[in-house]
């Protein structure tokens, strides 16, 4: 059943059109800007909910127009896309509230929210791209929209980080362009289709198909921060807290992980990728990244850097679940796309609150912060425990399915990997919690920054997302939970 195709277009346009308006608003029009921001974000959540409902009823949306001979700009709303845009729409709304509170008196707000909006538009475009060509367009747009956010503070350090970020991501984008072109030349199509489009190429030229896999996965692997392409992520930590939250939970690294899914499932097809012998190296890469990120996280004293290395590690769970080539692991991977987003955004917003309210930016300064900011630290603790994998929290659900998938795929080492990773997670998160709750804060010296009230716009968002972490874990089997939707998606990708 096909309907008028405008709904996906509206969802894209809400934030795309809001962006120039936000740019044009004068700095002083704070109320109007906040109104537009929140209004558009709320509208988008409503539209996405409606779209999700329609798609679950079996409606197929397809918007396309020809951009080059034979090549289309194509948006589609398949269940996998719904999964990702729901995440981005909901977390965008929450992050918008947080950003308004965070940047209330800062400079360049017009520019910030303009690019912020553009960034979400790009994420939505990535989610709904119906072929690799369209995906590429939004993938590059995402880079361009996030760069000004990363360097928002305008310091020398921020610009250095921005340059590294730009070089990594644009180089990745260029390789993706190369891969897209190669796919187009080899297969004559760039469409995403469950089961893949490359069967004929594989029989004719196996080596070319293998090289194509390396190029495409390597290109999106830059944004997914796969080792050895991860170095930009910890450096990009100089960005303001809401930007880090968005980058780590929804936008950039998720775009990479999502890209890996599209490439493996819908360009190659999981069976073809397996037959090419490419999934095992990818799984190995993911495993190395998981361990490496966790090990690096332990040694970081800067809170945001520790969280960043934790992201490097956690996002690769998604890649691992894809690469194991088992439907059960795939459920874990897709669920983790959502779960990791909720957990990580909570932690980044909490870290931002610590810096804003107490001036605490390092782990070694965290003594006693639990009593100073109980709400924020409760949220942080919930997310941290979930990340470690405490049942029945969100992280446990994804790890459970990943482990089952590992067994299903005959890869027993996955269990050891997950246990080891959980142990490492505990090693870098528990000391933070211990300091926060069980150590007394040092007596405030005269020169220490005084405690500031942070206001509800900063306090509420992490608590909200922490409650969502509890909900997606506790009610994982309820209808319309991320896990349930995930099963629906996997059934399609594995063509069951």
């Amino acid at each position: 059943m096909t309907e008028t195709p405008f709904l996906p277009l509206f969802i894209l346009l809400t934030s795309l059109l809001a962006s120039p308006i936000l740019f044009a608003l004068p700095e002083s029009a704070a109320r109007l800007r906040t109104g537009i921001n929140l209004g558009v974000a709320a509208l988008k959540v409503a539209l996405v909910a409606w779209l999700g409902w329609k798609v679950s009823q079996g409606v197929i949306y397809d918007v396309s127009f020809t951009m080059l001979p034979g090549l289309e700009f194509k948006l589609q709303a398949d269940p996998l896309a719904i999964l990702f845009i729901s995440l981005s729409a909901i977390l965008w709304l929450i992050t918008t509230v947080y950003s308004v509170g965070y940047l209330e008196r800062g400079p360049h707000r017009a520019r910030f929210f303009g690019f912020f909006s553009l960034c979400v538009a790009a994420t939505v475009g990535i989610a709904m791209a119906g072929n690799l060509f369209t995906f590429l367009i939004f993938y590059e747009l995402l880079t361009l929209a996030t760069y000004p956010l990363v360097i928002h503070r305008g310091t020398a350090e921020a610009l250095r980080a921005g340059r590294i970020y730009l070089i990594y991501t644009l180089a990745g984008g260029l390789v993706l362009l190369l891969g897209t072109l190669a796919l187009w030349v080899l297969a004559g199509t760039t469409d995403f289709s469950p089961g893949g489009v490359l069967d004929q190429v594989v029989t004719e030229n196996r080596l070319a198909a293998q090289m194509l896999f390396v190029v495409l996965v390597g290109a999106v692997g830059v944004k997914a921060a796969l080792v050895p392409f991860h170095a930009w992520l910890p450096i990009a930590m100089v960005a303001p807290a809401p930007v880090s939250a968005l980058l780590h939970a929804v936008a950039v690294v998720k775009a990479g992980a999502f890209g890996i899914m599209r490439v493996v499932y819908e360009v190659f097809g999981i069976e073809t990728a397996q037959a090419l012998g490419m999934t095992a190296p990818l799984a190995a890469m993911a495993a190395i990244t998981i361990l490496y990120g966790s090990l690096k996280a332990i040694t970081q004293d800067d809170i945001k850097k520790r969280l960043a290395y934790s992201t490097v590690s956690q996002v690769s769970y998604i890649t691992l679940g894809v690469a194991l080539a088992s439907p059960i692991a795939a459920i874990g991977a897709l669920a983790h796309l959502i779960h990791q987003g909720l957990m990580k955004i909570t932690m980044f917003m909490a870290a931002g609150n610590l810096a804003e309210g107490l001036g605490v930016k390092k782990v070694s300064q965290m003594d006693g912060v639990g009593r100073a900011m109980p709400g924020t630290m409760l949220a942080f603790s919930t997310a941290a425990l979930a990340m470690i994998g405490l049942p029945p929290l969100a992280g446990f659900v994804s790890k459970w399915y990943l482990a089952q998938g590992g067994l299903d795929a005959g890869a027993g080492w996955v269990i050891a990997l997950l246990l080891g990773s959980s142990l490492l997670n505990a090693l870098y998160f528990l000391p933070m919690l211990h300091r926060a709750w069980f150590r007394d804060g040092k007596e405030q010296d005269g020169d220490a920054p005084a405690k500031q009230r942070i206001g509800w716009m900063l306090a509420a968002p992490p608590i909200t997302t922490a409650l969502m972490v509890l909900a997606v874990g506790g009610f994982a089997n309820a209808p319309f939970s991320p896990l349930e939707w995930t099963r629906f998606v996997v059934a399609i990708e594995y063509q069951e």
Binding site: M67, L68, P107, L141
Partner: protein, 480 residues
């Protein structure tokens, strides 16, 4: 007979040039009217092309080889339209930025003369006519270069003039050889003629002359200084439009007098690769914003020649499309970028890249325009520059010419590197000595470059209709 749009698009700017020169008091108004009139003529012509594919007008009723015929097809009208659009917006942008009376007095006649020559090139069908037109262009272009009157501009203008005269002379010698050899100069006559050693020599002379005029590496020596030291509207016209005339003649000529062998096509591409790499290195090293933009023109010209050579001799029937798209994209984006750079220089007071971030004044809109134009020049989606780069790489890849793919990718990375030097100057705020001045809001002079840059980006979404338009009348497919 005179009222057909082809003739009009040459004679309206010509009369405009005379009018603005004789009556400088009403120069601005009459110049704008002339440019608008040209736009109208081009629009009518575009409609005709859409209906008929090609339009031929024998001037005075004489058919070639005796008379002169004007011919328009999809490609030439696309070039005319780009020229008219860029010309109109640069004219609007020039309204505020021309400082003194002398500049205003000479800018308009020179620019309209230039427009006459450009339109003439796009519509000519014989070699001698082309020679006349490139001389007309050179007259206007050299004048525009020295218009600012600074010592550097005059020196650069002189160098430009020598290069230009030399290029035209080489071209004229080639034309003379052809005439001696086959007795005809119209394109139909060229196609009919048999290739011989003498015609090849003539072709070589003409091509070298054209390459000098379009500033392909290593014949680019005159370009950076000339384009960087002119006033902003003049730079926009010189970089966005003028170098395209010789490039266009080269593209046309390659059909009517095919390059005799594969090595030459590869050589042309190799020179393009040299331009991309050398221009990129220079853009990375230069200290001035406008010089950086000028070096980017050298790079882009090289890229267009790589597009021409992307699939070798056998691929020429398709490759010209990639080159044409890159020409159109560069015209708009570079004009926007030069206008924006001029605005930035005016507001900040200098154009030293390293000191841009020390300024308390940030012309936000001009900086934004510069960045958008850079997106098209780097070739990021969905801009028209991206479409051009996509077509280039697609053709090279399909033909198995991976070296062109590699050069293009390296060039893209270099362009990211040199443009991000400028972005750092825009976006860094911790080196200012005072407080950031309040954003001054919109300036009329920002509208023109912003429109051009936005067009360069958004026309990428219309690539399919543009590609089918430039094929109308079979510019390179069938004999005219």
């Amino acid at each position: 007979m005179m009222i057909d749009p082809l003739t009009l698009s040459i004679f309206v700017p010509l009369f405009g040039a005379i009018l603005t020169f004789v009556f400088p008091r009403v120069a601005t108004v009459s110049a704008l009217l002339a440019v608008l009139g040209t736009c109208g003529a081009v629009f009518v012509l575009a409609l005709k092309i859409l209906a008929a594919g090609e339009v031929l007008v024998p001037l005075g009723g004489w058919a070639p080889p005796l008379g002169i015929t004007l011919r328009a097809d999809g490609l030439s009208v696309a070039m005319l339209a780009m020229t008219a659009l860029v010309g109109l917006l640069v004219s609007l942008g020039a309204l505020e930025s021309l400082r003194d009376l002398r500049q205003r007095q000479y800018f308009w006649p020179l620019w309209l003369l230039l427009l006459t020559g450009m339109n003439g090139v796009y519509l000519s069908t014989d070699l001698f006519n082309l020679y006349v037109m490139i001389e007309v262009i050179a007259l206007g272009a050299v004048g525009l270069t020295v218009l600012s009157g600074t010592r550097e501009a005059v020196r650069a203008g002189l160098e430009y003039m020598y290069a230009s005269i030399l290029g035209a002379l080489l071209f004229l010698m080639g034309v003379g050889f052809i005439y001696l050899q086959i007795g005809r100069l119209d394109f139909a006559g060229l196609i009919a003629a048999e290739a011989s050693g003498a015609t090849s020599a003539a072709l070589a002379l003409m091509v070298v002359g054209l390459l000098l005029k379009t500033a392909l590496f290593p014949l680019h020596f005159w370009l950076p200084a000339a384009h960087a030291n002119a006033t902003a509207p003049a730079s926009a016209l010189l970089s966005g439009l003028v170098v395209k005339a010789a490039l266009y003649i080269f593209l046309r000529l390659s059909t009517y007098m095919p390059l005799p062998d594969e090595t030459l096509v590869t050589l042309i591409g190799a020179l393009g690769a040299g331009a991309v790499l050398w221009g990129g290195v220079q853009a990375l090293r230069t200290e001035r914003l406008k010089l950086l933009v000028a070096w980017s023109t050298v790079v882009q010209i090289g890229l267009i020649f790589i597009a021409f050579a992307r699939a070798g001799q056998a691929g020429l029937t398709e490759s010209w499309k990639a080159a044409a798209v890159l020409i159109l994209a560069h015209g708009m984006a570079k004009a926007a970028m030069f206008l924006a750079a001029g605005r930035i220089k005016d507001e900040v007071g200098h154009d030293r890249i390293a000191d841009l971030d020390k300024s308390e004044i940030r012309p936000t809109l001009a900086q934004f325009t510069f960045a958008i134009a850079a997106i098209s020049l780097i070739g990021l989606p969905p801009s028209l520059g991206f479409i051009g780069k996509w077509s280039l790489m697609e053709g090279a890849m399909a033909a198995g010419y991976w070296h062109w793919v590699a050069v293009t990718m390296i060039g893209t990375l270099m362009s990211v590197a040199y443009f991000s030097r400028v972005f750092a100057g825009f976006l860094r705020f911790d080196r200012m000595r005072g407080e950031l001045s309040e954003h001054k809001g919109w300036a009329l002079a920002d509208v023109a470059p912003l429109t051009l840059a936005a067009a360069a980006i958004s026309l990428g979404l219309m690539a399919a209709p543009i590609l089918s338009f430039i094929e109308l009348g079979y510019p390179f497919g069938a004999a005219p």
